[in-house]
């Protein structure tokens, strides 16, 4: 019996060792789509254009029941831009994202890149216009949403070309993004959310107000969720260079509670404003992370 292993369910670090972002993303997407059998994302354009004969695999919800009742034939309705969802993927490229808690794990940025690449591939395969914006304290890369051939390659290239930032002024970057997203669509923010929650929520709420469907991936290294380390250590913030001396063993419980409270606060705030929120640890298989969107 052949041992079939789906790439999308493997350990992210292990998957990353298979090759570059493209290979990894394609493998993940193949595995992921094979698992759910259909696209998880749907467009929301309602401009009807024509009927066509039903093909096996078409969504039953698009069957024209009137024709079926009148002529006893199966036709599906086709809509303008049916698959032309405008998705904009926002990747936090700040300094804090280039951190990992253990050598065997991916940095948050590496994890986010692969996750975003896979997501973009899924979206483009179903002919959704997909774009990319990377930012740290400023917007670094902007790839407008397109469906054209080579779009995915451009997106991946943009991810690769975006260096790790020095700091995070995500609030300003997010506000700037709102200006770039003129048409309603899907906005996916992938970040460690290590910035002021109130200001960031203001920007996200604005996007939501503009009609965007907003989803937030809160990426976190497992070492950030549970504090550990030597008996006493000086922890330094890679962005602000602020430091604090702590005894991880003493502070572990309070820290864990603080993190859980912070995650709960983000989740609560996002739910309150109709924003999707997903807390993702960097040891979570990509397929499981993508499934959160299904």
């Amino acid at each position: 019996m052949t041992d079939v292993r789906r790439i999308d369910l493997l350990d992210p670090a292990e998957v990353a060792r298979l090759g570059g972002i493209e290979i990894v993303a394609q493998g993940v997407v193949e595995g992921f789509l094979a698992g759910i059998h259909r696209s998880p994302f749907r467009g929301f354009s309602v401009e009807f254009t024509e009927h066509r004969a039903y093909q096996p695999g078409d969504e039953p919800r698009y069957l024209d029941w009137k024709i079926l009742a009148r002529a006893d034939r199966l036709f599906v309705k086709q809509f303008e831009e049916e698959t032309n969802l405008r998705a904009m993927l926002l990747v936090d490229a700040s300094r804090s994202m280039a951190w990992r808690g253990a050598p065997g794990r991916l940095t948050k940025r590496a994890y986010a890149d692969r996750l975003v690449a896979a997501l973009a591939l899924i979206l483009l395969r179903q002919r959704d216009a997909t774009g990319l914006i990377t930012f740290d304290e400023a917007v670094r890369q902007v790839i407008p949403a397109r469906v054209r051939t080579g779009q995915w390659t451009r997106l991946v290239r943009a991810l690769l070309d975006t260096p790790d930032g020095r700091g995070t002024a995500a609030e300003a970057a997010l506000l700037h993004l709102t200006g770039l997203l003129a048409r309603r669509g899907l906005v996916v923010l992938v970040s460690d959310l290590l910035f002021d929650r109130a200001l960031a929520l203001t920007a996200l709420r604005y996007l939501r107000h503009r009609g965007h469907n907003v989803i937030v991936f809160h990426v976190m290294d497992p070492a950030e969720a549970e504090l550990s380390g030597p008996p006493e250590v000086r922890f330094r913030d890679p962005e602000s260079r602020a430091s604090v001396v702590v005894r991880p063993r003493e502070l572990a419980r309070a820290y864990g509670e603080t993190v859980r409270r912070e995650v709960a606060a983000w989740r609560s705030a996002c739910r309150r404003h109709g924003i999707g929120y997903h807390h993702v640890l960097t040891d979570l298989p990509f397929g499981m992370a993508l499934r959160l969107l299904a």
Binding site: R95, S96, W99, D192, L194, M220, E224, L227, G229, P230, E232, V233, R234, F235, R236, D237, P238, E239, S240, A242, S243, V244, V245, V246, R249, E250, L251, A254, Y255, E257, T258, V259, E262
Partner: protein, 575 residues
């Protein structure tokens, strides 16, 4: 608090180790990047107070742990009033008064009292430590300083003595001794039968800081019945016996025995018997015996205290005096001499002359003041020429006679008299006084009277004691008496020799106050010597209690274990 091993306290410097380690450990912590530092700061802000308290608690616990262990190693001694012998004590100056007076030989509950006193004294001394200063005072009043072992040997050798102990004075001396010692503890332990009479007069001045403990009599409040011969003296041919003892006792039979001095004791013969209760006296006439020294004893039936059951006495029997009275002596003297002559107490002669002029030759003169005041100066000049230091002085005020030397004349009024002056301070020459002035004195071969023996001068010639007085005057006072003195000691007689002549004797016997075995009440003891009366257990418990120390190192180690457990719990909880 004191320490058995104070040098170990140097280890207290190690108490700084936790703090030093804390500081050193904090100096160069490793550094690492950690992006969610805002979460850290938030967590630390929220738990900073708790962590600070925990750190402080851990620091204190670890420091306390080291301090406790070091203190335990130093073997600390703290004040305690625990069980006897259960701990050490600070250096103490202890004066132990062991009352081995004659009364300590009384038999109580079938055993000599001295055994109990020795046992308690022994235990008290045995508990002494190396740094203590010890004295042992017996009833002889001598404070014997010595080591514990030396004094224990002394206690073992103690037997009931013959000296009475004045406990008040002994305690006063003992307290002064211990108070002079610069030691933390100063105690006086009184191990005595605590007779009421042993406390003497007055009260001991107890210095501040000196504790006085007294062993209570076993049968507190219940006096042991006892009788003793308090006095046995021959006077004018009779033996006056005084019986002492515990008040309320029944009369006891006193047997009088007599033997010639120099003869074997076995030759004593009973010469009389009397019945006397404690506190009363009896007189036993002595038989006519040949002139010379005689030794006798008054013996009581045996009782619980044997030391006072017999008392010796001496009797010097002399030939009748050869007496002559001048016409100036008066009719009363002449009549008395006639009576004495008839009773063969005197014979006619010139050895003793009674009159108002000094006799020129050998012999003794009983000199009466001249009836004519104008002759006083002449009499005084004669006295001076004779080398007698006494003179007839001014006319004195009327009064009553007081005399310890002559029985029976005390209280008899004297209406006229001359003050006898001279030989100031020579009280031994004064035989009787009136209003404190010498009235009857003896100097060399002259006996002076301040009044004529006439009823116009004194009521003495009209009293029944007059003949006896004249008898004493001519036979004893005028002819000179062999000195018989009394002293404390075992019942017996010691003669004083001068060449081949016996010139005096010392009769030794216990102090009659020893016979009264009535115990002193706690109030009396407290007032007299400032002591608390304690039974044997209490006595042992209270001794060294003021400075008793208990080694608390074991307690400190237990505390250290507890602290270590708490520290482990706090540290584990912290991690």
């Amino acid at each position: 608090m004191s320490f058995l091993h104070p040098l170990a306290l140097l280890g207290l410097a190690a108490a700084a180790i936790p703090a030093l380690l804390h500081l050193l450990e904090r100096r160069v912590p490793p550094e690492a990047e950690f992006p969610p530092i805002r979460y850290l700061s938030e967590a630390e802000r929220q738990s900073a107070r708790r962590l600070k308290l925990r750190h402080l608690l851990l620091l204190l616990l670890r420091t306390a742990l080291i301090v406790l262990i070091v203190m335990a190693a130093a073997r600390p001694l703290v004040r305690s009033r625990g069980a006897v012998g259960g701990g050490a004590h600070e250096p103490t100056a202890l004066a132990l008064i062991l009352d081995n007076s004659p009364s300590s030989g009384a038999v109580v509950d079938g055993r000599p009292l001295i055994e109990r006193l020795k046992r308690v004294a022994r235990a008290a001394i045995a508990r002494a430590a190396t740094g203590d200063r010890l004295w042992l005072m017996l009833s002889d009043g001598v404070a014997r300083a010595g080591s514990r072992d030396g004094l224990l040997a002394t206690v073992d050798s103690v037997v009931p003595g013959w000296r009475r102990l004045d406990l008040t004075e002994a305690v006063a001396r003992a307290t002064r001794l211990v108070n002079a010692e610069p030691l933390p503890g100063r105690e006086v332990a009184v191990v005595s039968d605590l007779q009421r009479t042993t406390l003497g007069q007055g009260r001991a001045d107890i210095p501040r800081g000196v504790r006085v403990l007294a062993l209570a009599p076993r049968s507190s409040g219940e006096a042991l019945a006892n009788r003793g011969v308090a006095q046995a003296r021959v006077a004018d041919g009779a033996l006056a016996i005084t019986v002492a003892g515990t008040p309320g006792g029944t009369p006891a039979s006193v047997t009088v025995r007599l033997r010639p001095a120099g003869g074997p004791a076995g030759r004593s013969r009973d010469v009389g018997r009397a019945l006397a209760a404690p506190g009363s006296s009896a007189s036993v006439p002595l038989p006519s015996v040949a002139p010379g020294w005689w030794i006798g004893e008054a013996v009581l039936d045996p009782d619980e205290l044997r030391a006072d059951d017999r008392r010796a006495f001496v009797w010097r029997v002399a030939l009748p005096a050869r007496v002559r009275a001048d016409p100036g002596a008066g009719p009363f003297v002449a009549a008395a001499l006639v009576v004495l002559a008839q009773g063969r107490r005197i014979v006619e002669g010139s050895d003793v002359v009674v009159g108002e002029r000094l006799q020129g030759g050998a012999g003794t003169t009983v000199l009466l003041p001249p009836g004519d005041p104008a002759l006083i100066g002449q009499a005084n000049r004669a006295l001076a020429a004779h080398g007698v230091p006494w003179r007839f002085g001014d006319v004195g005020t009327p009064g009553a006679i007081g005399s310890a030397a002559v029985a029976g004349i005390g209280g008899i009024p004297v209406a006229r008299r001359y003050r006898l002056t001279g030989a100031a301070g020579d009280t031994t020459a004064v035989l009787a006084t009136v209003n404190g002035d010498p009235w009857l004195v003896r100097a060399a071969d002259v006996v002076l009277l301040g009044s004529r023996l006439d009823t116009a001068w004194t009521a003495l010639p009209a009293s029944p004691a007059f003949v006896s007085f004249v008898d004493v005057l001519v036979n004893r006072l005028a002819r000179g008496e062999a000195l018989v003195t009394e002293a404390e000691g075992p019942p017996g007689v010691v003669f004083q020799l001068q060449g081949a002549d016996t010139v005096g004797a010392v009769v030794t016997a216990p102090d009659p106050r020893e016979s009264d075995l009535t115990p002193a009440t706690p109030d009396v003891v407290g007032r007299a010597i400032g002591a608390e009366m304690l039974d044997e257990a209490g006595f042992a418990a209270e001794q060294y209690a003021g400075t008793r120390r208990t080694d608390v190192s074991a307690l400190l180690l237990v505390l250290a274990l507890l602290v270590a457990g708490v520290e482990l719990g706090v540290a584990t909880r912290a991690q």
